[in-house]
């Protein structure tokens, strides 16, 4: 952990008062329980039938149990057994699970084979039954209990951590660390365990509650802490028989477990957030099925954006400000800008896909002659994929890896138009013809295709419903030059033969110049210049456009 991570951790109370309160409770609980013998001089096991079953009063704040023992005293003393055991068990399981899982997942090969077999054997038994058997075998007592519960819990962790470690093995920064000469053990220690520890901690904290209850269960069977020694789970079991007559008997230990589990869960979340410097993503807000009166498309102008402002709700800085853009029927407009200029945000705005924290704060987006300002989820859904198509940057992300190409095409057709499957399939095959892929590929999965073929499939999906406007967001960035040239030719031909309008978004002026009629230059959220391609390249007016033109690598030979 570095300085900034520590500061994030220490900054929690300021940011989240409820969380701070929970942490305070946990701290107080742990301190009181640890110092129990000093604070409370009453004996937690001494029986006094004169005071049996008394409700809460000044002398006994939580009442007394059926043997006349003070429940507060028993809860405080019982916490020692419950918390200490749960703490030790969780520490052992997390440590063993994380180390075994990380080693097995990262090293792979025969180490992994042996370890996974062992884990499988453990997981094949019901958890609690195995724990009972082990505890009985080891002779009862707290130590036996700890060993039994740990032994049945670690394989679950090991399996989760192994999965993470296997993913990390090919992660860019782990490969980079190997190239930087970091030894295997060091990579395991720093990169792998460092990445895994966050999710594992959260899991462990959630598990604390479960462990307390497993211990209670085993104690109930006489395999752990034996009555009359106080223990939270054991107390709950005793209270069960007196639920109706003396509800306070289970309220106190139940409340204690609840409070501890709640605070510990919060602690887990807080530590995870502190270890991961990236902010968690905000949840998506789906449009739902509400309708706001979108009509059938008409008009010659496919898309018209007027004075569009898009802002990050949290911050004041605008992503797009005062953007105006028009795409006419059959026209191909280029949008050029560097990453961070707001190109993709504009594409999302045109598709109605802006999600918090991004929001339209001014201006209008008109599609096919209709203002989209009042459109809700269902209105957009009817237009996206039907009248508007999108081809994104990475075809591997755009395609579903577990469905065949044909299924995805048919799905796209049937999402928009009611028709029998056979007819939809015929359309799907036609779309494959359109992008010049053999029809037999309808049975192929995305991973069986090359990058260029995948992008053709993505184009086929975008075009299968014959949209009038196609938005291409860096459609060739993930491809090599030859494939790029082919895809570009393909798009140019399709545009003319189908007569669709196109918005071609790219950072590469060379590509934009080849395919588009008109270019808009986007710089820091503003359109700084618009014009036909020849003018923009030949006599750029804005200094930024001049820089863009100058950055185009012409074949300059070094010698």
């Amino acid at each position: 952990m570095d300085g900034r991570a520590a500061r994030r951790l220490l900054g929690i109370p300021r940011r989240d008062p409820v969380g701070a309160l929970l942490l305070g409770c946990l701290l107080v609980a742990v301190l009181v329980i640890a110092a129990a013998p000093l604070l409370v001089d009453a004996d937690p096991v001494a029986v006094n039938y004169l005071e049996a079953g008394l409700p809460p009063s000044a002398a006994h704040p939580f009442g007394t149990d059926n043997f006349g023992r003070d429940i507060l005293v028993r809860v405080v003393h019982g916490g020692r057994a419950s918390l200490a055991t749960a703490g030790v068990v969780v520490a052992i399981t997390v440590l063993t699970g994380a180390v075994v899982g990380a080693v097995s997942g990262y090293l792979g090969g025969w180490v992994d084979l042996i370890v996974t077999r062992i884990i499988d054997v453990f997981l094949a038994f019901p958890r609690l039954v195995l724990a009972i058997a082990v505890a009985a075998l080891l002779d009862a007592g707290l130590a036996g209990l700890v060993i039994a519960v740990s032994l049945v819990s670690w394989p679950g962790y090991a399996r989760i951590v192994r999965g993470y470690a296997m993913q990390l093995r090919d992660e860019g920064y782990v490969v980079a660390a190997r190239c930087a000469g970091t030894s295997r053990w060091r990579i395991l220690r720093s990169h792998v365990l460092g990445s895994v520890i966050g999710p594992v901690l959260v899991l462990a904290m959630v598990d604390v509650g479960e462990v307390i209850l497993s211990i209670a269960g085993l104690s109930f069977l006489g395999l752990g802490v034996r009555p009359p020694a106080p223990e939270w789970g054991g107390m709950l079991n005793e209270a069960r028989s007196f639920m109706a007559e003396a509800p306070w008997m289970f309220l106190a230990p139940g409340g204690a477990i609840c409070l501890v589990v709640l605070s510990v869960n919060y602690l887990g979340d807080a530590v995870r957030d502190a270890l991961d410097p990236r902010r968690p993503r905000l949840p998506d807000r789906w449009g739902g099925t509400a309708r706001g009166g979108a009509e059938e498309p008409d008009g010659e102008v496919l898309a018209r954006v007027r004075d569009l402002d898009v802002t990050v709700t949290a911050g004041a800085q605008p992503i797009l400000s005062g953007v105006c853009l028009e795409v006419g029927a059959g026209e191909c407009v280029g949008l050029i800008g560097e990453s961070g200029s707001g190109k993709s945000t504009l594409a999302l705005a045109l598709l109605g896909l802006l999600r918090p924290p991004l929001a339209v704060t001014g201006g209008t987006v008109e599609l096919f002659g209709h203002d989209t300002g009042g459109w809700r989820g269902e209105d957009w859904r009817r237009f996206r994929g039907r009248h508007l198509g999108l081809v994104g940057q990475d075809p591997l992300n755009a395609l579903n890896p577990v469905l065949t190409v044909g299924t995805q095409l048919v799905e796209t057709v049937r999402a928009q138009q009611r028709m029998p499957k056979a007819e939809a399939r015929e359309r799907a095959l036609k779309a494959l013809d359109l992008v010049r892929l053999p029809r037999r590929l309808e049975n192929a999965y995305p991973h069986q295709l090359s990058g260029g073929m995948r992008q053709r499939v993505a184009i086929a999906i975008a075009l299968v419903n014959r949209p009038r406007l196609l938005i291409c967001d860096e459609p060739t960035t993930a491809l090599d030059v030859s494939t790029q040239a082919r895809i570009l030719e393909e798009l140019a031909t399709l545009r003319v033969s189908l007569g669709i309008g196109m918005l071609f978004i790219s950072h590469d002026l060379r590509l934009v110049s080849q395919i588009t009629d008109r270019v808009a230059v986007l710089h820091r959220g503003r359109i700084v210049e618009t014009g036909d391609v020849e003018t923009i390249i030949g006599s750029p007016r804005h200094p930024y456009t001049r820089r863009l033109v100058a950055a185009v690598p012409n074949v300059r030979v070094t010698d």
Binding site: D2, G3, Y173, A180, P277, S482, L509, V552, P553
Partner: protein, 260 residues
């Protein structure tokens, strides 16, 4: 300095590299171009010792080197002197680590004798060399732009004072203006220290900016090796001709005679 002879690599029945041979001299920049799937990255991985070749030999300073479980002295020298920069700068930095920690990782491995203060000073100096400053030391990768991340990756590769940098598509994730900046930076660094480049790319134009000698890889074989001027003006092999022809050009550029 680096000599690769008869390098072959097969995965199961699939041959990825077939009898690849080339040399990189001290202070030389060599380009390696090819379409995706041609085996470019496999060459890089073999040269970096991340992959054991099926056949063939890689020698460093005249001594054959091989990756092994227990690293010999020659292997350590080789690994220290050959460093790399990857295609995606964001994924090649640990998102949970600050720039300082990422930069100091190779120093810890290759210069274990130095203390923390020396490392911090070196990290600062490296950042300045790649056009960033010490205020970036405490940043996390997500707080940097992609171009800045790539600069950090270059700084990290320079940390163990390598003699050869293997650049595996280092520009593909960057915008054109940033690409030009990074090429300028790489040129500048090569001028300051005795550093060779093996520049891997599918983009012949980017390679031409930095390298004089270019190897063309097609389906695991080197089909052409030529000076960059010859390659662009008189490509011999049909595959090279196709690559040159497919390289995008500005539509009006040739007519307007822009950019000299």
């Amino acid at each position: 300095m680096l000599r690769v002879r008869g390098l072959s690599k097969t995965y199961g029945r699939m041959t990825v590299l077939d009898d690849v041979g080339f040399e990189v001299g001290a202070g030389e920049a060599v380009g390696l171009i090819g379409a995706s799937g041609a085996g470019k990255t496999t060459v890089a991985r073999c040269v970096l010792g991340q992959e054991t070749p099926t056949r063939g030999e890689i020698s460093w300073d005249g001594t054959p080197v091989r990756r092994s479980l227990w690293r010999t002295r020659t292997e350590r020298v080789w690994r220290r002197h050959v460093q790399t920069v990857f295609q995606d700068p964001r994924s090649s930095l640990n998102p949970r680590w600050t720039v300082a920690r990422s930069l100091m990782e190779p120093m810890r491995n290759f210069q274990p004798g130095r203390n923390e203060r020396w490392r911090r000073e070196s990290a600062k100096a490296l950042l300045e060399q790649v056009g960033l400053d010490s205020s970036h030391l405490r940043r996390y990768p997500h707080e940097l732009s992609t171009g800045q991340c790539q600069r950090v990756c270059i700084a990290r590769a320079l940390a163990p004072e390598p003699r050869l940098l293997v650049l595996d598509e280092p520009l593909s994730a960057l915008d054109l203006p940033i690409q030009a900046q990074i090429i300028g930076l790489l040129k500048g660094i090569a001028g300051q220290r005795e550093l060779s480049y093996l520049f891997i790319s599918h983009d012949i134009v980017a390679v031409a900016e930095l390298c004089r000698r270019v190897l063309v890889l097609e389906r695991g074989r080197i089909v052409e090796e030529a000076g960059v001027r010859d390659l662009l003006t008189r490509p011999a092999h049909p595959h090279t001709r196709a690559l040159v022809a497919d390289t995008p050009v500005l539509r009006a550029a040739t007519a307007a005679g822009l950019d000299g």
